[in-house]
Symmetry: D2
Subunit: 350 residues, 4 copies
């Protein structure tokens, strides 16, 4: 029976996006994870390494060179930046579909990418063929794509509300757009770094990347697709907050006279299962999407300001809609499956 | 179609066990939640009160007197102690099955119950008819029962390993049995109390209930069923630890010569989907069962001691296997459904 | 010897600002806490109620009516809003100095106060005599005052950087000013409320008060003192973040051409012991001021924007510089003592 | 003026015990920190590396070989195990006093040390000259010592109550002694390790070192000094709990007939400023000693057991009384200063 399922591989499966892919795919009715690779943990059973997966997988991590990814129909790259651009092209050449959760194919302008990621790009010819997988805005392109550049977490959380406003030309073109974003610590990945230690990141709050975070050009690229003239008016400050999962964007915009942001969102997302536009007066909280592929959005008219200033609130789980969940959503679209397949798990609250 | 589903009611659905029942039942293929009651939130939509449930339920909380629980096949009591003993009998008299997540029917000895719960018991005749629902040890009784006393979280976490040893007469009868237990804060329920505030329970660790916690007689009753002579040798200290969900029991026992605790566990639970006996050298952690109905257990011979002293480690999610999950498991058994129905969600890690 | 010390009373000492005053004053060389009141805990020893204070205080909480506050030289009100306005006037009439940590005397416009605090003001005549105690900006007024309206935590964290820019006319008058603020949960006080529970506020992030928080008019009043025309351009969104203590303000402003925010801060605060202007490239974090009376500030030019857009980062401990510490600082100034007396404790890191 | 102060050096000052020594010594009236070393951060200003120390220190980290430790009167080793045993002897030979916060000189039996620390000991001759610095029990020896082996955190938290019972021969000799201990994550040190990440250790609870933690032989050595026959009856299980600082020991002992543990503690510690024996019914919590050098202890007779079984609760701040605080206390004793000098800071609560 399993031979009729779509065969899936995961490159770099020991990180947080890797284990999250494994969690989401464990009960996917139409796919089977066939191969997981890890340079460091090769030979170790997945269920020994991640006890939460005991009983769900018999797989053993394979060294990248030993893994027979060419037997897969779809391969996810859950690797650090700089790996997929080297290893994906060989798979793509065999006709295998690739969903890259890293940043390698997200930025169309190579110079900008190289400036922000501080390395040479190794497969520039694939950049223009990659589809930027903000699922709700690119369903047709994704369905036809072979290579998906899965969006960053901040660009997803900020992009979903912003794109609706951009599409409707709602933004006043001479005002600043400010995205003040807060991320849980898992967004830094599963890397042994002092700054991500419990005793450093716990009971602490700080901004980071203020001088220019890598997701700044990614969001500006998204804006530019609709309104290049305002991309430079966009300011973005990420912050690290002591929660494991979860991302909250507070976005400050001035809208054209008479525009109601909430109405724009409701119109844009009425048919999108994973974007929940909450009613006026709501306060989206990160835990309301913990473990789920949902983005919840609402908007407030800024109190007692003269201009048509709005405050937009948007939350996602950075590991789900901000990474592995959107990757599975994109895979579902690529495979012609119902978009929600294996993504209907309820948020864990409390 | 829904009329063919088992109709379920939840009394007191605004607490943590209530919302957890709603989460677990949201995708249960054979049951439908028909009524949820709340004295305080009557008239409010469930999805407004718990935004994590938006999209999954159209239900509105009803005042207890307005709710038509008599149309239900099964009613869960997710109420404070003292409610089910008053309200369940009328439902039971109509033939409705009841799963009581409170402590009302857990203790067979009325005097002990009244001493520890500091009130008169209102339906003592139902106590002896109630089946104590430690699912793995009472499957046949549960299948035949009309009223389930769903076990407490500590008694589940401690009882699962202890019962296996008791059944095999593995415990040395003249030695102390010590259960040092640690619970996440959600175990205190969703009550507005100073001691459960983030700024009180956060970044803090303490014991509580040392002079005699209510789960002490419940565990002693479990022990007594097998070996009444050692029940008084059992000491239990619960602690509050700054995590939301999760419970860890560290149990210290002296075993009869030659007995290997791990081998006993493996034999006892080889056919139980929800008890995972981990191999020697494992360190069960609470997050490995976060959101799941699994109890993970392992055992160590105490290093360099003369006696056959053992250290047993056991973890559950206090809201799932320690409450709502076991309640659903018991309901499945009562209804003749596969035990794991709706309980196969993967743990959320990280 | 103690009779030569300044005698101090604390009204409402069982909350977080109360216990923090007791911590800070425990080793103050020139004052002695003589009376602490609590309606609920009257008769209980302070050291039994707050074990962290064992050994430091022999005091017993007194009922408000029993406490002989008239023997005090200075009385702190660490009470909910609405208490000081009723009880302080009688003490003030006796010549006693009062530092009110609540909001009762912060807003000069009574109508605005009543709108935001939803009650009648009970001693409007004292409002205009109260000095708003943002210590660094009002030293002379504070020294001469009898009644101090101790600033709110957000107004302190936002006001310290903003006032320096306002004083220098650095802000572009036609641009929005946005303060995106994040507070630890202790900011909500030591009240038994569901929303402040560990299992609600933990591992969660959300905005609140978006439609108009009480500190909005307080900050606007501060702005208006320098530039009334831009007060309405100020937007403020507070957020709740899962840390116990700590507050972080991220402030977005457009400055007049050529102005360097960091240089403005350095000039403004070179002689202020409790405002630490950090060098360019720094990332102030809340834990760097945990338990200390320090505000750390820095500023960044927003990357790659056309306008002279700046990002200002400011952190305080909401219970110290945002409440009890600034109150002690103000008392020191009122008493003619060195401003730093009893406030030199080092931050606790980690 | 500073030349009359005792000159102090800290080797390895970038870890948690190092920064804690700097915090505690910042306002010590009789000592001056003259040199701090760090292999990795040499050349960096202490105040840049630890912003919490801005304003308190002008020091720059020096490479170990460049630091002129020979000008110091006292040198603290806040280094990983294995460093002090190599570097301390040269300083000791110059007559410098050394307080070693690592484990190098704690175990008198070299073979045991080498087994548990998995390396050759490099200066075995100094082991027998080292005084094990459990301050309350060795004041005279410490005063006369040149080399202090500062105790581990668990051995301090467990040893303080246990030694009082051992001294009075209170323990029943044929019963198990069990210490179930819980530590905050800072106990693992400031090392970049996956297991200490916020997203791994946060919202999680687990045991570790169950098969034989390094502090097991250290505590057994302490027991053996009084009662070698019961050292092998001691079982110790450490657990990792999601708090930054804090340690809680729950100790289970059977006492000789008629012995009251609480009375024993009160007698033993009536003159010790840093051991607070709390009254019957108290629940010592870790936050009640956060940042302070205090150990709080109480005891309960186990409810409804036949034997004279007792439950002992003991809390410390692992970085203060469990490390840097006790090190300063020991230095004070060595220098003939009042034991409490610079150690009177109040705990930070909340």
């Amino acid at each position: 029976m399993s031979e009729t399922k779509t065969q899936v591989g995961i490159v770099g499966a020991t990180g947080y996006t890797g284990v999250e892919l494994l969690r989401l795919l464990a009960h996917h009715p139409f796919v089977e994870v066939r191969a997981v690779t890890s340079r460091q943990e090769a030979g170790k059973a997945v269920a020994d390494y991640f006890p939460s997966l005991r009983g769900a997988y018999d797989l053993v991590f394979q060294a990248p060179d030993d893994a027979d990814l060419s037997q897969c129909d779809v391969v996810f790259f859950a690797t650090p930046n700089g790996v997929a651009m080297k290893e994906a092209p060989a798979l793509l050449a065999q006709g295998i579909k690739v969903v890259d959760l890293s940043a390698d194919y997200r930025i169309q302008d190579v110079a900008t990418w190289q400036k922000y990621y501080k390395m040479e790009h190794a497969s520039t010819d694939w950049i223009s063929k990659a589809v930027y997988g903000l699922s709700e805005w690119k369903r047709d392109d994704i369905a036809a794509a072979q290579l998906i550049a899965n969006p960053g977490c901040y660009p997803t959380c900020v992009g979903l509300p912003l794109l609706a406003l951009l599409q409707q030309n709602s933004l006043k073109t001479d005002a600043a757009i400010i995205a003040d974003c807060k991320s849980g610590v898992s967004g830094a990945g599963r890397k042994a770094e002092i700054g991500s230690l419990f005793s450093e990141a716990g009971d602490n709050f700080k901004a980071y990347g203020v001088a220019g975070h890598r997701h700044l050009p990614e969001i500006r690229q998204t804006i530019s697709a609709f309104a290049p003239e305002i991309a430079q008016k966009f300011t973005f400050v990420p912050h690290l907050t002591p929660l494991i999962r979860g991302m909250h964007a507070t976005i400050y915009v001035e809208l054209n006279e008479g525009v109601d942001a909430l109405a724009v969102f409701q119109a844009a997302y009425q048919d999108s299962a994973f974007v929940d536009v909450m009613p006026h007066g709501s306060l989206p909280e990160t835990r309301s999407v913990r473990g789920a592929n949902t983005c919840r959005i609402t908007a407030y008219r800024a109190p007692e300001t003269e201009a048509n200033q709005w405050i937009i609130l948007s939350v996602i789980d950075n590991l789900v809609k901000g990474a592995a969940g959107q990757a599975v959503q994109n895979m579902n679209i690529m495979l012609g499956l119902p978009e929600q397949t294996a993504l209907n798990g309820m948020p864990l609250l409390p």
